[in-house]
Amino acid sequence: MRFLHWFIAGAFIGILNVLSYVVRKPLGVSSSFVTADAMGLKAAGSPAVEQNAFLKKHSNVDYQFILVIFMALGGMASALLFGRSRGRPMRSLTDVLMQLIGGFVMLFGARIGRGCTSGNILSGGAQMSLGSLLFAAATFLSGILTLRFMRCLR
């Protein structure tokens, strides 16, 4: 499968980020996971959202949540129109656990650092935020080391 050239895609996403900044705020994704949690709990009738200040703060559909929903749809539309690659095959319980734990640790870390690849690295980097640049450096160092370590185990 042929992918878009990195410069074209990068410049395009950069322009989208500027547009998003002008409309409301720069691109971000990960806090919408909290919104999804809070909305799911509310729909299930759980009192947890009222009892937890952080969930309550993120319990409504906001600008970013709409953006993330349509990001999901845009990705799906693109895959349907242009095709997709396959994910990693899930052959064993270890594979499944690796994905679940990886996702867990990743979003937990994103909340501690208040942003993910979008909010901290793309948007924080574009705003020249030193906090975000530190987060980005820690992310790449840790990601590279973790991958090396996983290779050694196999």
Partner: protein, 179 residues
């Protein structure tokens, strides 16, 4: 939806489209970046940061100030980044590309998103104790230009050009090594 919601939907749609078309939701490419074998996505991010820096600070100079600058909390950013990178390497997606991958019908991405929903929920309960442990030292919302005491737009232009040039340099070095 109001007009802001419509714009959010349009920006989001094209964002997801571009991520998918660029291969950012491709497990092999994401791992290729962290394994330093395929730096396409790193170059993409650097280009995006450079372009957005110039645009954002150009609008800021015109009075549009919608910044979301994160504070330089040294411990929180370091610990958060380390955990984020570890999870990223383990599951092979980041939060946004995981959602895109899930929508493409990739089971590994769906599992990562489920893990992410649980991780976010766990954080909501752990937040008070994490804040106590990692909130200090906090140096505030520092940026390159606020520390260097230079004009933000001029700084952003230099910073933006440097980012894009660095991406092209990485590209050249990669091509030279492959030969």
């Amino acid at each position: 939806m109001n007009s802001e919601g419509v714009l959010a939907a349009l920006i989001g749609f094209f964002f997801g489209f571009a991520l998918q078309r660029a291969g950012a939701s491709d497990y092999g490419r994401l791992h290729g970046m962290l394994g330093l074998r395929d730096l396409g996505l790193l170059k993409l991010m650097m280009t995006s940061i450079g372009v957005a820096a110039v645009g954002i600070y150009a609008f800021a100079a015109q009075g549009v100030r919608h910044f979301t600058i994160k504070p330089l909390k040294v411990l929180a950013m370091t610990v958060g980044g380390f955990m984020f990178g570890k999870g990223f390497a383990m599951c092979g997606y980041c939060p946004g590309t995981g959602i895109v991958g899930m929508m493409e019908g990739k089971p590994d991405a769906l599992l990562a998103v489920i893990g992410g929903l649980l991780g976010s929920l766990a954080y909501a309960y752990a937040k008070p104790s994490i804040d106590r442990a990692l909130d200090k030292p906090d140096y505030g919302e520092l940026t390159v230009s606020s520390v260097a005491k230079t004009d933000p737009l001029v700084t952003a232009i230099v910073y933006g050009i440097a980012m894009v040039l660095a991406a092209f340099m990485i590209d050249r070095i990669g091509q030279a090594l492959r030969r």
